[in-house]
């Protein structure tokens, strides 16, 4: 399954095969750092606003595709909120990988992570930050990076096939 997390409300990009799309619908609450998704209801965020199950959806995906406005070399607030609310995908315990501390896996699937950033004035430095950030995310999900692309407008993305 492909899991798409996007800040585009009017999402009209073609996707091949089975997929699920998480996009802005209603109000999303930002994480408030309680770790309840690890120690109260492991695997699920404690705030029930329709965005509490992303960790579980991630466990079912082979590809995680972020489609986001590029904000200073990172994803946009909506996409980031969804990511912050989905740390239950991993286990709270620590492991050492590549000499650095990370979290243990909760699930067995290995995620191929792609990011499609759009924005009029993405600087070279922001692109560099974004590439490194996505690599760091993949390390923390114990997955791998598949693609990282940059576009000027969200409209340009309509021609692609995910």
């Amino acid at each position: 399954m492909k899991l798409v997390i996007t800040d585009l409300k009017d999402f009209s990009i073609s996707i091949k095969g089975e997929h699920r799309i998480i996009k802005p619908q209603g109000t999303i609450h930002p994480c408030f750092g309680c770790f309840g998704c690890w120690v109260k209801t492991p695997g699920q965020c404690v705030m029930h606003d329709g965005y509490e199950n992303t960790g579980m959806y991630m466990s079912k995906c082979t590809e995680l595709i972020l489609i986001s406005q590029c904000c200073y070399g990172g994803v946009s607030p909506f996409v980031k909120t969804v990511q912050d609310r989905a740390i239950s995908y991993i286990h709270p315990d620590f492991v050492i990988r590549k000499g650095e501390m990370h979290h243990k896996r909760r699930y067995q699937n290995v995620i191929a992570l792609s990011a499609y950033f759009y924005g009029e004035n993405i600087t070279e430095q922001e692109k560099k930050t974004a590439r490194n950030l996505i690599e760091a995310n993949a390390d923390n999900y114990d997955g791998r990076v598949k693609n990282i692309y940059f576009y000027k407008t969200a409209k340009e993305l309509e021609d692609i096939l995910l």
Binding site: P30, C31, F32, G33, F35, W38, V39, K40, T41, P42, G43, Q44, N53, M56, Y57, S59, K60, C71, Y72, G73, G74, V75, S76, P77, F78, K80, T81, Q83, D84, I87, H91, P92, D93, F94, I96, E100, M101, H102, R106, Y107, T123, Q125, E126, T129, N132, L133, A136, N137, N140
Partner: protein, 212 residues
Amino acid sequence: MKIALINGSPKTKNSASGILLEDLKSHLSQKAEITEIKLQKTFIPEEIAAELKTMEALVFSFPLYVDGIPAHLLSCLIQLENAHWQNREIYIYGIVNCGFHEGVQAKYALEILQNWCKKTELIWGGGIGAGGGGGLANMPSTKNGHGPKAPIDKALQAMADKILQNKRQKNHYVSVAFPRFLYRIAAQIGWRQMIKANGGKTKDLGKRPEEP
């Protein structure tokens, strides 16, 4: 000199971000007029945004979330980028604490803040990436340069000096002076205590719930 210490942790109390700002403040307070601000929501009230614009330095202290800036704080930064800044001679400093032991894991979050500075045309003053943030609330304060927080305190002291002189610093990555293997054990004991306090069992930490 007017300095705003901005706590970007969404926690209402006992945030590591707040502890780090307290420590920074102890190195600043004699010589500065300090305003303490908490940003816990996705929006900054107008009067606070207006106040921030009157400062000479802004220090953002926040937790590392998914290798980046917590989403609510990112929304606030976007709001500030679009605010009307009359004076852009304002120095911006960042203190990012993270749960992992290596402060360098905060590197890209500091870069994002630096990139924001560039877009907002403010002056990047540099940052600290502090590893082992999860333990800060339980660690004793530094005495005579000793204790588990000593390396972080040293970095904060150096940053305070730069702030007071309107100078920049290179990003400084530090960790608590507490061995990584012990930090890991302590954290894992912590998760077990927490899940039990919530009525669960240790093995529940590894639950794999199916989607509803």
